[in-house]
């Protein structure tokens, strides 16, 4: 996620970004401390069980994209990719 600190601001005016913690043991205080220490600009939260089941999230460092109409643009996938790969993700999501 640190990788996105420099990439996301390039698309922040057109695409929203929400970081969702998947470890139920990491509550709001942990997340808030982590955000502060890393200097993330996007909102961060902790997922509940329903959300993890609805989006079929079984691993960390994964992502899903939703277009402006609320339709799944890309289902859950691994977030291990290059900077250009992320840029393409943002651009395609912006044009969707």
């Amino acid at each position: 996620m640190r990788q996105l600190k420099d990439i996301y601001p390039e698309h922040a005016d057109q695409v929203d970004f929400l970081a969702v913690g998947v470890d139920p043991n990491e509550g709001a205080p942990v997340i808030r401390s982590y955000k502060s220490s890393e200097g993330f600009s996007w909102p961060m939260t902790v997922a509940d069980r329903d959300m993890l089941e609805d989006y079929r999230v079984t691993r960390q460092a994964t992502f899903a994209t939703i277009d402006a109409d609320g339709i799944i643009a890309s289902s859950i996938a691994s977030g291990s990719m290059s900077d250009d790969g992320w840029r393409e993700i943002f651009e395609s999501l912006r044009d969707s």
């Binding site: 709001a28 509940d48 960390q60 899903a64 289902s75």
Partner: protein
């Protein structure tokens, strides 16, 4: 002179007188009523024939009247031509009636448009909620580390990237 010669001379004078009298009668007798009709009769016959010659003229006049009759007969044909025009005039409303009927269907065609206008807009089939691409994203309600409530509707109108992470 002898008595016999005197008789011959008398008879000759008498015959001469008789011939002279007949000659005079024949030449100067216009006032005589007996012979006049015989002399005028041909002229009267000509007069009588003149009407006979005029009769053809009258007959010719009547044929002219007969020829005028055809013209009058043509005139009656012209009135029959007018009734068709009147019929055409009466038929004109009949032709206008379809136009009126055509005008009346237009409201009938407007009715469907009104029905369409009053009918609810056809709703596109909404995709099912799911996690696959093309499905409607499941809604969620989360609280951010800053205490802000977020739902999927909070990002309505803007695309969003959900990134799932751990701090370790």
């Amino acid at each position: 002179m002898s008595r016999f010669a005197k008789r011959l001379r008398f008879r000759a004078l008498a015959l001469g007188l008789a011939l002279a009298a007949s000659f005079l009668v024949a030449c100067g007798g216009d006032d005589a009523g007996t012979e006049a009709p015989t002399t005028h009769s041909p002229t009267e016959g000509a007069v009588t024939t003149s009407p006979a010659t005029r009769q053809p003229t009258q007959e010719a006049a009547t044929p002219t009247s007969a020829t005028e009759q055809p013209t009058e007969a043509v005139a009656p044909t012209s009135p029959p031509t007018q009734p068709p025009t009147q019929e055409a005039a009466t038929a004109a409303p009949a032709t206008q009636q379809p136009t009126e009927e055509a005008a009346t269907p237009t409201p009938a065609t407007q009715q469907p448009t009104e029905e369409i206008a009053t009918a609810p807009p056809p709703t596109q089939p909404q995709p099912e909620v799911g996690h696959e691409t093309g499905q409607r994203a499941p809604n969620f309600m989360l609280t951010t580390s800053d205490g802000e409530q977020l739902t999927l509707d909070s990002f309505q109108g803007r695309p969003v990237l959900l990134y799932f992470f751990t701090t370790w």
